[in-house]
Symmetry: C2
Subunit: 354 residues, 2 copies
């Protein structure tokens, strides 16, 4: 039976990427060796790392603009810490739009003063704050573009005089934005980019080197830039599969092409949530994410029936996060419109049955 994988992350990647990724475990580049057993200093792997770094900048339209792309380890959780380590001298601003922003704030507080410039915590983060004021003396402003747990997504980004940092873990490569408005973007790979185990960091080099503290080598972006992201052994396989996924996206037509498909999927599902009286959406309409749709049943008594129906249809990963409850349908780049259609069919079928 075909599976429809709505998992929030790690999540679905293109089937053709899995195919190539599986073959490389047995015989990489016709070398007779597994990609898992070759030196990360071999030409074959250096080529992979270079292509991955170039593709990231190319897809984001950031080539030749002073940005460097790195593939690090430790996930976004390590970036919460590294951004502050490298950039927070006195005071930083954070927009609090959910669990991940909140965690980023907690880590930054160890390094300096943190101003929460706005928060939607009062409504369990079901909207994106707007109309806030931004202090003038910030070392940087940190925002989270998409909130996986709550299903909200920033549609516009604040204009600021200081460096703008964005945690783009759950919607990178999904929609056209002027990425040059950011000075540092980071993203754990395990949504639109690749498997868990590597983190993309894209940083405008000239914002670095301005804090007075000593930074440990592995925490210092400059270390990694100076070694082209190969200061120490990288997460070889995670970088490789990310490279394959970015190649797939490029061949598809890049972010412009995938955005159109993502919009179509989101429109299909949100229409059903709005029209079907058995469901209600969680996130404020204008802030709804094209990546993660959060919704629940209007009548909890239907839960057992609905759960059995979507599981029977081959759907996977639909349970909501415990902070929100209900359901969450994650519609990352590799998820087909057909899979969303299958879910919508089940939702309509429930309405007919109920």
């Amino acid at each position: 039976m075909k599976r429809h994988n709505f998992s929030a992350g790690p999540c679905i990647l293109p089937q053709e990427v899995f195919q190539e990724a599986s073959e490389a475990i047995l015989n990489f580049n016709n070398s007779g060796l597994s990609i898992l057993e070759i030196s990360h200093r071999s030409k074959d792997f250096v080529d992979v790392m270079d292509e991955a770094r170039n593709l990231a900048l190319e897809l984001l339209g950031l080539e030749g603009k002073g940005y460097k792309a790195l593939f690090l380890q430790g996930g976004a959780s390590t970036q919460f810490l590294m951004t502050a380590y490298n950039l927070l001298q006195k005071k930083a601003g954070y927009l609090n739009t959910g669990t991940w922003s909140d965690k980023a704030i907690k880590e930054a507080k160890l390094f300096g003063e943190v101003v929460e410039i706005a928060s939607s915590k009062d409504a369990n983060y079901n909207y994106i704050p707007k109309g806030y004021e931004i202090p003038k003396d910030l070392d940087y402003l940190h925002v989270t573009s998409n909130n996986t747990i709550f299903g909200t997504q920033m549609k516009d980004f604040p204009e600021v005089d200081c460096p703008l940092i964005c945690d783009m873990s759950s919607d990178i490569f999904s929609r056209q934005i002027d990425f040059s408005q950011f000075d540092l973007i980071y993203a754990g790979a395990q949504k639109n980019m690749g498997p868990a185990g590597t983190t993309l960091v894209v940083v405008q080099e000239d914002i670095l080197g301005k804090v007075s503290r000593a930074i440990p080598s592995m925490m210092d972006y400059k270390t990694h830039i100076s070694k082209s992201s190969m200061f120490n052994t990288p997460a070889v396989y995670a970088v490789y599969v990310s490279m394959l996924t970015m190649r797939w996206l490029k061949n598809l037509g890049g972010i412009a092409a995938i955005e159109e498909m993502n919009d179509r999927k989101a429109t299909l599902l949100y229409s059903e949530i709005e029209l079907n009286p058995l469901f209600k959406g969680f996130a404020a309409k204008e802030d709804r994410s094209t990546m993660n749709a959060t919704f629940s049943l209007t009548d909890e008594d239907l839960k057992e029936t609905f759960d059995a129906m979507w599981q029977e249809a081959g759907i996977n990963g639909l349970n909501g996060h415990r902070s929100v409850g209900g359901y969450r349908a994650s519609m990352y780049n590799a998820l087909s419109l057909e899979s969303v259609g299958t879910l919508v069919d089940v939702m309509s079928e429930l309405e007919r049955k109920a």
Copy 2:
């Protein structure tokens, strides 16, 4: 042609592990899903993580002795920093046996006083220092059990009153040691344990929580212990393949069985290096590593011939590190005696030819 992979790391893993690891990319546990697209919170993956953590303790004979096993990200290079972050209050001792010890020392100096209790730098690290005195007031003593680059290996470990920390990246699971003499062991996976991208940390819990500094969440061993190594998304695939490799080792008879095979391989190669007048070893005889044999030609004019011969025989990864030159044959757990035999044959053949 059969390949004989002597790569220093990432390096050879068992062929049957590659087979299973390749299949799991397409269909993991008969779920119809790739291991790369499932949630790390799914039962299937939680089982993998639990088995990996249990196998590590079981293989080391450390079950039920207050140790916790963690699979973190960032390699040994991140452990250089984390060990000091968590344990260095005033003064720590380091035994300097090579490049990696040296890097560990550099990071620790950011956190407190570091005493280099002995060093073999005077002889380009071709031996393990002995007979040194250890100060009484150390927060911990840090040693490196095996020095990949130089081909030396500690055969005995100092008895100390303070916690003993060991970087075991390149010889963990290769020989029987009383592992309970260490309070913290760490090892990048990419030699005897699995692919690059995860790092095993085995820590005696009661040494933690004694420094006064605030520790960022991701740098704090206690964070990871409290979440059973799942504080954030782990390096799913690297942990999975490490688990498969540890399972393979357990089925083989554990460390006792592999030690016997490793000894046999090392004996075969070192005998040839000693008996063949065309080669000389780099490391002091009593400190030679069973994992990495470093040697060079006595007559550099034979280099081109020798290089062509071993490459023709299907041998891979034999070039020495630039700090030492010559050759390095890494004989990790998964390398067969047959592969070492092939190399020895080529060395003998060179003698006959020359």
